[in-house]
Every structure is written in C-alpha cells, then in structure tokens.
C-alpha cells in the first residue's frame, strides 16, 4: 500500500479523533466528560480482553471478574485504609494478575466451552464472596467513600482532569498492547487460532502463549476496575456482575477483536449508545439491542474492520535467497542414526496401533513408511513428534529423549513434520507462516531467523507467492508451504505425512525433487505415503507396517518383493507365514 492510499484511508480516523479531542476539551459538559472517561476505562478493559478472546481465540468469561478484583482491591484499600492511588493501582493490577496466575493452571488446559464455563464459574464465585463477605466487602451495599485519584498534591477531580488522566492511562495501555503484539507474536497467535493441531510444529508453546494472553487480559482488567472505582466513588458487587462481562464482550465484538482501533470504537460506542437512547425509557434496551444486532450482522469482524488496510505490510523479498544453501547437518556423531526408535508400542483401547516397532534413520536418508490403512503409520509419526506418547519403548533423536519431551521442544530440537491435511494458518501469508516457524525455532542450531525462512521459501520455489495468504492457496501449493514451514525450523529430521496425497503427477515430481535436494544437504526424511509411484523413485529405503507391527525394513526393492508386504499391502496371497522383520 502506498503512502497516499494509507493517508486516504486514515484521514477519517484522524479527523474523527481530532474532533473528539476538541469536543472533549472545549465543548463537553461534565456529563459528557464522564461518559468519555468511562469510555477510556473500558478501552483499557477491552484491550486486555482482546489478548485472550481475540488473539488467543479463547472465550474467557473472567474479564469481568478481573475488573471486579481490581475494583475491590482499590475500593477496600482506599475506603477502609485511605491508601493512595500510587499504591492501590499497581496492587489492583497485581491482584487481578495473581488471580489469573492461580486459576490458569487448571483452567487454561480446558478447551473451548469448558474454558468458558470454568471462567464463568470463577466470576460467579467471586461475586458470591463479594456479596456475602460483608465485613470486608461491605456485602451487597458495597463500600462507599472511595476518594478521587490523587498523586501527591495533585487530584484528578471529576470532569476534565479525570478524563485526561484516564485517557492518558488508556494511551499507556495502547502502547503496552502494541509492544506485546509485535508482528511475530501476532503471527504466533494466528497460528494458535487457525491451526491448533500444528502449533507445536511451528515451535510455538501454546500453553505459554495462552498464559501470557490470560495474564495480560487480567492485568488490563484489574487496571480498568481500579479506575472505575475512583470514577464512581463506590465499589459494589455490580463490578463483578455478569453485566460487566457482557459489556466487555459486546464492545469487543462490535468494535473488533483485534487492534487498538477496535477497542476504542467498541468502548466509545457501547458507552454512549445506551445514554443516547436513555430517553426512550423502558424501550431503550430494545433500541440498543436492535442497533447492536445490526452492527454484528453488517460488520461481523467489528466496526474497525471498515478501516482495515488490505494486503500484507511485509516488504516483498527483493533478492530471493538461493535454495539449498542451508546445511541440515544433525548434531550427532558421524555414522550415528538421527532417529533411533526401539520396541515402540501404543494401544488405543482395544486397538494395538503400534506393536514393538524398531526404526532408525540416518542423515541424508529418505525412508518411505508404507502400510495399509490403520497400520499405525500416523501413530508412529505422532509419537516421533511428541503429539502421542508410546506405552513402551525408547525413542531418541540427536540426544533428545522424544518420549519425554513436549511437542514444542521436539520441534525446536529439529524434528519437523507435515500433516496429512496441511495445517496452515489461513490468516497469514506464506512468508509470515514460514517466518513464524523460524522465529519460534528456539535452540535449533541451523536457524538464522528470517534468512532461514527466506531460504526455505526459495527451496520450495514459493518466492513468487510469498505474500499470498495461505488460506487462498490451492492444495498443491499448501503442501509445499508446509514443507517450507517445516524447513524454517532448521530441522535435522523431517517427518512427512502423505505429502503427495491429492497432488497431480507434476506436483508430486516437484515435491520429490525438493526432498531429494534436502536429503542431499544432510536432512533425514521419513515419508509416510501410500503412493508407491511417488515413493519408489524417491526413497532409498522402505519400511512397512501392518497392524502396528513392522513387517519389513530394508532396501526399496527387497521390501516390495517381501511376501508379507505383498500380502498386507497389495492383498496378494502369502505363500508362507512370516514373523519378525525381514527385508
């Protein structure tokens, strides 16, 4: 987007913001200033909620609880002990954050609606405490007598001083949000939302990312609650009520789940809207409800999406990197296998998915893993990459015990994979997806950040579409992008789950050529596929699984000639029974 387009798109925003500032400073009544002050407080709360609800994609119903905790910490300390804002404000932020940290352990493990219910339960529990612990909280009456904000001799009195102070803090909150949401982290959040299955494959620790979002949402919620109490001069159970949560959720949905603009629009609109319609008496709720419904229908991504700029903000690669310049040398002694698996077994209920499987891969080797449906191929891939755990057996790669490591640690160690169905974040461009994997590669020795990502894109011949969103790519290109993503982590072992499935012959040939190039630079590759036309010319070795057992492992032609493989894989009658592994 060129600067003139940018200016053209942004001028209504700049003009609107300027008009709002002039109105607030010179024309607003005390009442108008109060509503704007409340808007500023809600901006802070919504900015926090965007972390967990927008970026992390988790429907938390605890934002009202964090708001309430911040409110009560300030309310109790200020009204009962006369503690000043300089102390109560950070304590409110810390109190809400501590609560989030305590509940994060059990709650963040839960998925979707269970997470929503658990966070709702937290809010209800706190509300009950606030109502019934009368000696401390003042019960349902709450605690009156909260003084105005004062710092030293200066006091943020009602009206313009309080308005400016609150919006000053809102700007600070915006800067913190912007700092926390640098592009690499936004991309990691996108991966977590769009492709939860593949998050570890990107080297992203989903638990840590979710925890960060939850803590930030709590901290912002606590800060907003503290300011709210000073604005209303009383703390009462309404601050913990579900109404606050609904208000926050509505602001976020109407304004936008991502970005400062969404938070500002949502907070300003939802704070003012009921006031504009208040004159309708009992019917104002109907009017507000109809208007909100219309907004959600016509702007499902939030009103801020009307001001969104299309295309990626990344600078296109001016000089594409040359393919194949990265050496995927495993950090193991020469001659030692990159992958060593022995006696691997895994049972799912009554099904023995893997039964005493031994497998080894050396550097630069391409091993094809074949077998009929249900033979245990994907289970083995999942165990190698830590997504599933073996019941018995040992499995190591370049010094790491894969049986004990997390999927993220395994990916960061240099064991990469692709999936049967490509797992790519639709909302990211090819470059952003690959760079995200490179940025989160952690301790992998081969990674040089963006340079490695650029090389991976070039190796997979994707430079021309590097700035295209993954969600718009055809299937064949998605397969290649997945390989590029896997390479961005600088792996020494690559596990490919049916990389040729659904591809045209020429696309299969392109992938095969990429894999040969990679093996030539030292990468160990395990390819799971049914397609022998693809595998036969590619693999230097074949291994065959049947009903969880490894029935053959050896040179390609020997395995294909094996009677047991013929019987299991091609359905031919086996002349003699075979037990154990042969080649």
């Amino acid at each position: 987007m060129n600067p003139s387009t940018l200016t053209r798109h942004r001028w209504p925003l700049v003009a609107g913001a300027g008009a709002l500032v002039i109105y607030a400073l010179f024309f607003a009544s005390s009442y108008d200033q109060r509503i704007l002050t409340l808007s500023g407080i809600y901006v802070i709360m919504v900015l926090g909620y965007q972390f967990i609800f927008g970026h992390a994609g988790a429907l938390s119903l605890a934002q009202g609880a964090f708001f309430g905790v911040g409110a009560y910490v300030t309310g109790i300390l200020a009204s009962k002990f006369g503690t000043g804002f300089v102390l109560t404000f950070p304590l409110s932020v810390a109190g809400a954050s501590m609560l989030a940290l305590i509940v994060a352990v059990p709650v963040l493990r839960l998925a979707s609606h269970y997470f929503a219910l658990a966070t709702l339960a937290l809010s209800q529990l706190l509300l009950l405490i606030a109502v019934n612990w009368e000696a401390v909280t003042g019960g349902a009456n709450g605690l009156p007598g909260v003084p105005p904000i004062s710092i030293g001799d200066w006091q943020a009195t009602r009206g313009l001083p309080l308005l400016l102070f609150v919006w000053g803090l809102a700007v600070v909150a915006m800067l913190i949000a912007r700092w926390q949401l640098r592009p690499a982290r936004v991309a990691a959040f996108t991966v977590m939302r769009d492709t939860p299955l593949a998050v570890p494959a990107f080297g992203i620790d989903p638990g840590l990312l979710r925890l960060r979002a939850f803590l930030l949402s709590a901290a912002f919620g606590g800060a907003a609650g503290a300011l709210f109490v000073h604005t209303n001069r009383v703390v009462s159970p309404e601050t913990l009520g579900f109404g606050v949560m609904i208000t926050c959720l509505t602001m976020t949905v109407v304004g936008g789940r991502f970005g400062i603009l969404g938070a500002v629009i949502g907070a300003l609109l939802l704070t003012h809207l009921p006031e504009w319609f208040r004159g309708l008496d009992e019917y104002y709720l109907v009017a507000v409800g109809v208007l909100l419904l219309a907004m959600v229908v016509f702007a499902p991504d939030g009103l801020a999406s009307f001001f969104k700029f299309s295309g990626s903000t990344h600078t296109p690669i001016s000089t594409p990197a040359q393919p194949g310049s990265t050496e995927y040398a495993p950090p193991v002694a020469s001659g030692r296998p990159v992958l060593e698996a022995s006696n691997m077994s895994r049972r799912y209920g009554g099904v023995q998915a893997l039964d005493g499987v031994d497998l080894a891969l050396g550097a630069g080797e391409i091993v094809g893993l074949i077998g009929p449906n249900g033979a245990g191929k994907t289970t083995l891939a999942n165990i190698i990459t830590g997504i599933a755990r073996a019941d018995t057996g040992n499995i190591r790669s370049a010094g790491l015990d894969l049986a004990r490591a997390t999927p993220t640690a395994i990916a960061r160690h240099g064991v990469a994979r692709t999936f049967q169905t490509p797992q790519l974040p639709d909302g990211l461009t090819v470059r952003e997806a690959v760079e995200t994997a490179a940025a989160n590669a952690g301790d992998t020795a081969n990674v040089r950040g963006a340079a490695t990502a650029a090389e991976a894109i070039a190796t997979c011949d994707l430079s021309d579409i590097a700035d295209t969103r993954c969600g718009t790519l055809p299937h064949g290109l998605r397969r290649r992008v997945e390989i590029a993503r896997a390479l961005a982590g600088g792996p020494h072992l690559l596990v490919l789950d049916e990389p040729a499935a659904g591809l045209a012959p020429e696309e299969q040939a392109e992938i095969a050529q990429i894999l040969r190039t990679l093996a030539g630079s030292g990468l160990a590759i395990l390819v799971i596929d049914h397609n022998l036309e693809f595998l036969q010319p590619l693999a230097t070795r074949l291994a065959c699984l049947d009903a969880g057992r490894l029935i053959a492992d050896g040179p390609r032609d020997d395995v294909l000639a094996n009677d047991a493989v013929q019987a299991a894989y091609f359905g031919l009658v086996m002349p003699t029974s075979t037990s154990g592994v042969s080649a």
Binding site: V131, A140, N141, E238, G241, R278
Partner: protein, 375 residues
C-alpha cells in the same frame, strides 16, 4: 459610539439574560430504576413522583438508573450538567437502590442538591450527608414493626428468616436480627437468597427442619411470591410475615387469594387498604394516570415530592432553600407525618397488613406510629 449607549446595550443584554434565567422554571430530575430487577418498585417510585409533579409548574424529566451505580451517576450528571443550567435544579428524586444512593451521595454533596428517595437501605443516612431525605421508613423502623408484630402480636417463639442477598436484603436482615434478639426471640434459622433463585423448596425444607413457628421474609417482589406459593404447596402452614414487597399489589397479583391466607407484611403504608378520602383520591388518580394499583413506594415518593412542592409554595427558590425546609419542617403527608431526625430519615411510622385469604387487598391490622420518637 459613545460610552453611554454601549453601557446601555450591555446592561440591557445582561438584564434580558437574567430575566430569561429567572423565567426558567424550577426543575426536579426524577432518577429511578425503571429497568432491571427493581423495575417494579422503581416504576412505582417514578409514578408517585410524576403524579405529584404533574401540573405543579415545576419541570421534571425521568431518567432510568437501571440497577448499577455507574448508570445512576451517569443519570445524575446528565440531569445536572447537560443542557440547562443546574441552578434550576432544586432537588432530585433519587433511586431507591441502596448501592446507587451510596454512589450518588458524594455527587449530591458536591453539587449541594438534596435528594428525595424511598430507599430503605439504612446506610444512606449514616454517612453524614445533609442532602439525603428518605420518605419511606428505613429498616430501623419497618424491621422493628416486623419483629414486634411477629413476637408481640402473633406470639412467635422460633422465627426463621429468609432474606435477599442484595443491599436491600442484607440491610433489612441486620435490623431484623437486632430486633428479634432484643425481643428475646433470635432467629432459629436464617439464609440469604440470590434474586435469581427460583426453586425455594431447598430453603423451605431447611425452615421446616429448623422447627420454626413463623417465617419472616425480607425479599424482593418476585421471590416473595415464589416463597409464599411454594411454602403453601409443600404444606408449610406457619405464619408468614413478609417484607414490604408483599404489600405491593403486583406481588399479590402473582398469587391466588387462597395462597395469601395467613400472610402478613410490614410496610410504610398500603394506599389501597386505606379508607380516608385523601388517600382514596390519591389511589383513584394514580389508577387513572397509570392504569395500575398504587403501593407504599408510590405513596412515599408522592409525599416526598409534595413536601418539596410545599417548600416551593413557601418561597423556596434554590436547592439550599429546599434542603433547609426538608431538614427543619414537619409535613403531614398522606401516609404519615414526616420530619427529619437530623440524618434525613423522614418517615418514622409503619403498618402491618394481612391478607384474609379471599381477597388480594390486604387489611391494615396494626399501626406502629413514631417508632423512633422523633415526632
């Protein structure tokens, strides 16, 4: 232009402005909860105020405060600082919800505007504000009548108490406890209910197990009706002496007359039960204006606003004049005689009313006059 004409023009303009300002009618904003869980009571409060203000020459505008302090403060600031000059505002009809009053008191003190309310929450007159005037007997009054009627008139020995876990409920429960203990009949069972609870069987089973010989309620309208109905349905036939919510015609309308047999309630008044001509005229006017039955909240707010208008008729022109009038004068209203106890508690009498079982119109069975000794 010489200096004289300029001075004349400026003086004329100034005079015109002042005349225009003086011509602005006095104003009493009505800030009441007409949405949310207190909509029923809040609407009565609004209607009472509106009936008094119609045709009085004093301007008024109704603002909904819903049920949160935030919206109440918004409404207050809008009424006083948005649009017309705030000097016109001589008083505010303030919401009956205790938490909202607690949030409004600092503002009323800052703006120096008296607030007239029918809130029963004890705390609002304990904060030292000179701007709170309560025209409904507070918990100190009605809970004394509540407990005394149960113990002294009905001979209750083992009372059970069910209260609401709202500001209203907790405030009343504390006074009820204090009075029952003082009468030597402490509650054998007490439990708080959230306003959202619909199944009363668990709490009523506990009441039965406690061996209570009377059930004292301090609940909002809907929960009161639910408790009465479910108590009768499960055969819990001990006397029920409810809080003021039970006196409301809307609460009685939720129950069959037979379910109301043996049910009594405390209240500041019961306009539909009174036979004196003035109160009957009020009730008729109320029915005509709003197509519903009046209750004690409507009557209390009506009396409160009538006292404000009496102050205006007596020459009050500012909020300060009104405050001085309310704080120092005695006023004979329809429900009772009002006078401040120095803290803004204007109502000091209560009534007990009971349902016969064949009508939804209760009969006043006991009047407790001047319980605080102020009058």
């Amino acid at each position: 232009m010489s200096a004289l004409p300029r001075v004349f023009i400026v003086a004329t303009a100034l005079l015109a402005t002042l005349t225009a300002a003086a011509a602005e009618p006095l104003r009493i904003p009505v800030l009441v909860p007409i949405t949310g869980f207190l909509a029923l009571e809040g609407t009565s409060q609004r209607n009472g105020a509106e009936l008094a203000l119609r045709g009085s020459g004093v301007d008024f505008d109704v603002n909904d405060t819903a049920t949160s302090p935030e919206i109440a403060v918004n409404a207050f600031e809008r009424a006083l600082t948005s649009g017309r000059a705030r000097d016109d505002v001589i008083a505010v009809v303030a919401p009956m919800l205790g938490t909202q009053m607690l949030a409004l008191i600092p503002l009323a003190d800052e703006f120096n505007v008296p607030m007239v309310t029918v809130s029963g929450t004890a705390r609002i007159t304990e904060l030292g504000s000179a701007n709170v005037f309560r025209f409904f007997p507070g918990d100190v009054v009605v809970k004394a009548a509540h407990a005394r009627y149960a113990v002294e008139e009905l001979g209750v020995k083992r009372p059970a108490v069910i209260f609401q876990t709202t500001a209203y409920g907790q405030s009343g429960r504390a006074e009820l406890d204090r009075n029952l203990t003082a009468l030597g009949r402490p509650a054998v069972f007490a439990e708080g209910l959230d306003v959202s609870v619909k199944d009363m069987l668990p709490v009523l089973s506990k009441v039965r197990e406690s061996g209570a010989d009377a059930l004292l309620l301090h609940l909002h309208s809907g929960p009161t009706a639910l408790v009465v109905r479910q108590a009768r349905a499960m055969g819990l036939d001990i006397p029920i002496i409810a809080g003021s919510a039970m006196h409301q015609p809307e609460t009685a309308a939720l129950l069959a007359p037979s379910e109301l047999a043996g049910v009594c309630a405390e209240s500041g008044a019961s306009p539909i039960s009174e036979s004196d001509p003035a109160t009957r005229a009020f009730a008729d006017a109320y029915r005509t204006a709003f197509d519903r039955e009046p209750d004690a909240f409507a009557l209390g707010q009506y009396d409160g606003v009538q006292m404000l208008l009496a102050a205006v008729r007596a020459g009050a022109k500012s909020a300060a004049d009104i405050r001085a009038y309310l704080a120092s004068r005695r006023y004979r209203g329809l429900a009772m005689t009002y006078a401040s106890d120095g803290k803004g508690n204007m109502a000091h009498s209560a009534v007990i009313l009971c349902y016969s079982g064949d009508s939804r119109v209760p009969v006043i069975v006991k009047r407790y006059e001047n319980l605080t000794g102020i009058l």
